[in-house]
């Protein structure tokens, strides 16, 4: 069957949905709630295209081509719909793409990553992260007013992580591993979209205080799934700086261990349902409308496979390193 995509005739194969036809023909269409080969239902509308005949905006991920169909993937209305869908999703998405400490360091140190190695007891790796940016670390941090400690999210819970003290402590233990020659491969790309966690509620503060037991006391607020996060990728591409809507709800920030190295953070979830449709008696929906959430009943944790981390379009389900 032949259809027109942006006025170009394209052959649609049996069983293919519009997005598959269009992508094969070279159009780049974003998508969050769709994953090739996985069960899905249209939800996000990031893959919107226009049906030129009816003028309607349709999701390309579930619509099947019909004879004589003509679609537009570049129209202004299409772009607006995609951008708005992302903005709306972001307005209900609580996450720090990057940890604030890493973002503010004037030397470009990935503070959160450094603390991650420190907490894992991998001191060598921690020192490598340091060595990538500082030639004389003690001096560099001494001269600095330490904005990293000022913006530390732990500070709003009780007291900031003593970042500089930890750096000094490590250097004192093992000065040899330090090597100031390496290139910084962890420098933050500030052109990427930055989602912000916002303020903690008092219950969240209590939860975080009780649940965080790492040696550095770091909350590790940087999103563990940021590298593969498609929400961030498309938001950057769409040129979104920040959501224009004042968020009226705040999903509680919680890290729920599923088992193995798998972890679930509901506050980052965009409710696409991929994890629900692709697990048997595992994740499920509760509530409806804006109050709809995805939950994982305790009893169902055993039914979850690690593949779900790959399916999740954001960092809501991820493997801990």
């Amino acid at each position: 069957m032949q259809i027109l995509i942006n006025n170009r005739p394209v052959e649609a194969l049996e069983g293919e949905t519009l997005i598959e036809v269009a992508r094969r023909a070279g159009s780049s269409i974003p998508s969050l709630c769709y994953a090739k080969g996985a069960k899905h239902k249209s939800s996000c509308m990031a893959c919107a295209v226009k049906d030129c005949k009816s003028g309607q905006i349709i999701p390309s991920c579930t619509t099947l081509p019909v004879e004589g169909m003509a679609i537009d993937t570049e129209d202004a209305e299409v772009k607006l719909a995609r951008t708005l869908s992302l903005e709306l999703l972001l307005s209900d998405h609580r996450a720090d793409c990057e940890a604030p400490c890493s973002m503010v360091c004037s030397s470009g140190l990935d503070v959160e990553r450094f603390l991650g190695y420190y907490d894992a007891g991998q001191h060598r790796e921690a020192l490598e992260v340091l060595s990538a940016v500082f030639s004389l670390p003690e001096v560099a941090c001494d001269a600095c007013k330490a904005p990293c400690e000022k913006v530390c999210r732990r500070g709003s819970v009780d007291k900031s992580v003593a970042i500089r003290a930890i750096i000094k402590e490590l250097l004192a233990v093992d000065e040899k591993a330090y090597n100031g020659e390496k290139k910084n491969e962890y420098a933050k790309d500030k052109s990427l979209y930055q989602s912000r966690l916002g303020r903690f509620t008092s219950t969240e503060k209590e939860h975080l205080q009780a649940a965080t037991s790492s040696p550095s006391r770091c909350l590790h607020c940087a999103c563990a799934g940021r590298e593969k996060c498609r929400l961030r990728l498309y938001s950057t591409e769409a040129g979104i700086k920040r959501s224009r809507y004042e968020a009226s709800s705040a999903l509680p920030m919680k890290k729920i261990p599923i088992g193995g190295s798998l972890c679930f953070e509901p506050a980052k979830c965009i409710r696409c349902g991929l994890c629900v449709y692709n697990s048997k008696n595992g994740f499920t929906f509760t509530g409806r409308g804006f109050k709809m959430e995805i939950v994982l009943p305790e009893e169902n944790k055993a039914n979850i496979s690690e593949n779900l981390a790959k399916l999740c379009p954001t960092g809501a389900i991820y493997k801990q390193k």
């Binding site: 239902k41 249209s42 939800s43 996000c44 509308m45 919107a48 309607q56 905006i57 349709i58 999701p59 579930t62 619509t63 099947l64 019909v66 209305e77 607006l80 719909a81 708005l84 869908s85 709306l88 999703l89 307005s91 209900d92 224009r244 809507y245 004042e246 009226s248 709800s249 965009i270 409710r271 349902g273 629900v276 697990s279 048997k280 008696n281 595992g282 994740f283 499920t284 929906f285 509760t286 509530g287 409806r288 409308g289 804006f290 109050k291 709809m292 939950v295 009943p297 009893e299 169902n300």
Partner: protein, 807 residues
């Protein structure tokens, strides 16, 4: 879910020792009765809730053990539908209707009043002694009696915040009375017949009491009459309404009858059986008439045409196709229905080739009455063309619009007509299974349809080889569990299949791949109720009614600020002004008409100056509104349009299924912006942001709910933008938006202290013989003081405004 385990209250069904045994046994019995398949989850949960009044955790665990239903499915389904409760409620449930008509008449104040009166703690909905629970309900469908409250089975109309105590007392008294009273039936030789409307509106305004009074009065006076409950009479503003049919067949109609008047009416028309009784009654009647207060303004026994000319004008201009036989057809009298030509159309259809029936419907120009207005014949044609041994026909009775109750009335009052329509539809498209999908909030409709189906089955009108022919259609009833989105056909199908009511992307259409993957025809109740007329009288006769592209009649629920609300059936093409002025008798209290909200949450507000436009599918869409399912709420100059838009958005936001981004987050963000505007904290840029969002939610949502949800906002922005701009400046001229108004007491106050006594939050200090004052900080703006004051000294003014001082 998890919370229910912790808050499990003492069980009222059993002693503590055998609690789980009893519960398990009962649950097992229910599973045995309903079934253990995944698809039976909704009926199963409904049965459990009927048994235990909520879903106890032990019963749920038992379901996991004994059925195919797993945890993921149960959590997903039971939290989607608003009917299901995971924590028990009080013994009696007070449902406060928050439908459109009730909203504009102050339902939220009524709800607050119940919470206050019953001393319910903040965050709870149940009294400490677990006697009463209060909940808001989308719409009880008694819009003409707004504000309406239902306590258990009893409906109270016109409940004002100051009257909630009386309502509660009346309910408790009635409960005790009910237990004592046992009425006797004495129906032998009848001198005549009294017909009494028993639709939900009639019941709400006291028809049940009239019915009892008729029974006891006739027994007491020795007058033997047939008391015949009939369906909705349509004149909801004049109920309770009775028709007295004398032995000679003459009919006298009495609108707004009171129980006290029944005896007199019976006296007037009928003579008691024995001479002595007659004499005694005569004497007693004269004494009664002379010695009661009622004598002074007693015009009760005058028949309707002397009493008021209103009804004839109300009924004039209407045309009855769906509601043919209103006022005289008993809902469940099959003989009477057939005597008046019922099932003639079915007989005719069964003797005609299927193709011709489809063509007749196609030619008639009938369009779906559920809202979208898709040509019915076209739908039939598609389903009929699909090859398949098994097909479904579904009657969509999931009417959920706040402010609409046509489908409920039709199912309650004309069950046979809807069944007949479904049979014809089933025959025409070659279906072998039929399902009535009726929302659970309509218990009377469910009951009547079930009984009507049983009666039809006895007569071989439903089931196998109907009317002795080769056509068979098994019809079952499925009760919806409370989700507005299930009015959308794909969501409706998903819910019958035991899933959340998520709509599906079309194509494939249900016509090709619907319920259980089979070809499925879904038609609205009202659509089906028009079928018999088309088949019986031919498509030409049907086409002669209506406009070029909208044929036939449409049933509307006329409510809001109107003198005579009710259920009306009018030909397409009638203007809104005709409906309001000629049928509805103008705007309530002589106020000026501001707008008409048509089509409920999917429709829009049409300003007064455009009410000369005809009512048809396309004309309404041109105006930015929509026919919707037929709610028609009249708004006067006292109504705030921004608040109306916010009200509908609140509804759709709550009812959104949550599947797609634009509807789930988009409507919520629109509501946030509207709340901001109504609180006076918004800027002009917020109005633009709202408009952009509204346009895109409409354009990019996946199903009909989301695509139409912005209509109330878009139409009010189009026609009443100045009101939005005023709100940004902090002015709500109508005084509706609570953040912008306050109550003050003027110099007219005589210091009678009634307001101080009435105030539920002690915001008015008790200062006898002095002018009272209101503490704005404490005031909750319930308006009780306004109701209470006889000197009109309590005024609602803008917050910034100073109390105007009168000399």
């Amino acid at each position: 879910m998890q919370t229910s385990e912790n808050t499990l209250p003492p069980c009222e069904f059993c002693t503590k020792d055998n609690h789980s045994n009893v519960l398990t046994e009962r649950t097992d019995a229910i599973i045995e009765r309903i079934g253990a398949r995944r698809a039976t989850i909704i009926p199963l949960l409904q049965a459990l809730q009927a048994e235990f009044s909520y879903l106890p955790q032990e019963a749920i665990e038992r379901i996991y053990e004994r059925t195919e239903i797993d945890r993921a499915q149960l959590i997903s389904v039971s939290t989607f539908y608003s009917q299901f409760r995971h924590i028990p409620l009080g013994k009696h449930l007070i449902k406060v209707c928050t439908g459109t008509a009730c909203h504009v008449k102050g339902a939220s104040n009524v709800y607050d009043a119940f919470i206050r009166q019953l001393n319910i703690e903040e965050g709870s909905v149940t009294t400490a002694d677990r006697m009463f629970s209060v909940e808001k309900i989308a719409c009880l469908g008694c819009c003409t009696l707004a504000p309406v409250v239902q306590i258990d089975e009893k409906i109270y109309g016109h409940v004002m915040p100051g009257k909630v105590d009386e309502v509660i007392i009346d309910f408790i008294e009635n409960q005790t009375k009910k237990e004592k009273e046992e009425l006797q039936k004495a129906q032998r030789q009848a001198a005549g017949e009294v017909r009494l409307g028993m639709g939900s509106c009639c019941m709400a305004s006291g028809s049940a009491d009239i019915y009892k009074e008729l029974q006891s009065a006739s027994a007491q006076l020795g007058i033997e009459i047939n008391i015949k409950p009939v369906g909705c009479v349509g004149v909801c503003n004049k109920v309770p309404l009775i028709d007295v049919v004398s032995a000679d067949g003459a009919i006298d109609r009495y609108p707004n009858v009171k129980a006290a008047e029944i005896k007199e009416i019976l006296h007037h028309h009928f003579k008691p059986a024995g001479y002595l009784k007659r004499l005694k009654n005569n004497i007693l009647w004269h004494i009664d008439t002379l010695h009661t207060d009622a004598t002074w303004d007693n015009v009760v026994w005058k028949p309707e045409h002397e009493r008021t000319g209103l009804i004839s004008s109300f009924l004039h201009n209407q045309k009855h196709i769906s509601t043919e036989g209103f006022g005289f057809l008993a809902p469940l009298n099959l003989d009477e229905y057939t005597a008046h030509g019922g099932f003639d159309a079915l007989q005719k259809a069964l003797a005609t080739p299927r193709k011709e029936i489809v063509e007749a419907i196609l030619k008639s120009g009938l369009r779906g009455r559920g809202g979208g207005g898709f040509p019915t014949g076209k739908k039939w044609e598609i389903v009929a063309a699909v090859q398949g041994e098994h097909k479904y026909v579904i009657c969509n009775g999931d009417e959920g619009d706040p402010g609409a109750f046509m489908d409920r009335m039709m199912l309650e009052s004309y069950p046979f007509r809807v069944i007949e329509g479904m049979l014809i539809a089933g025959y025409a498209v070659g279906a072998d299974k039929g399902i009535f999908y009726i929302r659970a909030e309509y218990p009377l409709a469910v009951e009547r349809i079930k009984k009507a189906l049983a009666l039809c089955r006895e007569r071989k009108l439903v089931g196998s080889s109907i009317a002795g022919g080769s056509f068979s259609l098994e019809i079952a009833v499925f009760e919806g569990a409370g989700a507005f989105v299930c009015g959308e056909e794909t969501a409706l199908i998903a819910s019958i299949e035991g899933e959340r009511g998520f709509p599906k992307q079309r194509p494939p259409y249900p016509a090709a791949c619907g319920l259980n993957g089979l070809p499925t025809l879904v038609n609205n109740v009202e659509t089906l109720s028009q079928i018999a007329y088309v088949v019986k009288h031919g498509s030409e006769a049907y086409r002669s009614v209506g406009t070029e592209k909208s044929k036939g009649t449409k049933v509307f629920a006329l409510a809001g600020k109107i003198n005579h609300g009710g259920l009306i059936e009018v030909p397409m093409g009638i203007t809104l002004n005709q409906i309001i002025e000629d049928i509805g008798g103008g705007v309530e209290g002589g106020r000026k008409l501001k707008a008409v909200q048509i089509g409920g949450p999917s429709g829009g507000c049409i300003p007064a100056e455009l009410c000369g436009n005809p009512v048809d599918f396309d004309a309404l869409i041109q105006l930015g509104a929509m026919m919707g399912s037929g709610g028609l709420v009249v708004l006067s100059e006292d109504d705030c349009m921004v608040d109306v838009a916010r009200y509908f958005l609140n509804f759709t936001c709550d009812q959104s299924c949550g599947k797609c981004t634009f509807c789930r987050v988009g409507t919520r963000r629109m509501l946030d912006l509207l709340n901001k505007i109504c609180s006076g904290k918004a800027s002009l840029a917020d109005i633009d942001l709202l408009e952009e969002l509204a346009v895109n939610v409409k354009r990019s949502s996946l199903c009909g709910l989301g695509k139409t949800a912005p209509n109330p906002v878009l139409t009010t922005l189009k026609y009443f933008r100045h009101e939005y701009e005023e709100h940004v400046k902090g002015i709500c001229k109508t005084g509706t938006c609570k953040d912008m108004v306050k109550y003050v007491i003027t110099q007219d106050c005589i210091g009678c202290t009634r307001c101080a006594k009435a105030c539920p939050v002690s915001a008015i200090p008790y200062t006898p013989y002095e002018i009272h004052t209101i503490d704005t900080e404490k005031c909750v703006l319930c308006g009780l003081c306004v109701e209470e004051c006889s000197y009109e000294a309590v005024k609602k003014i803008g917050k910034a405004q100073k109390a105007s001082v009168k000399p």
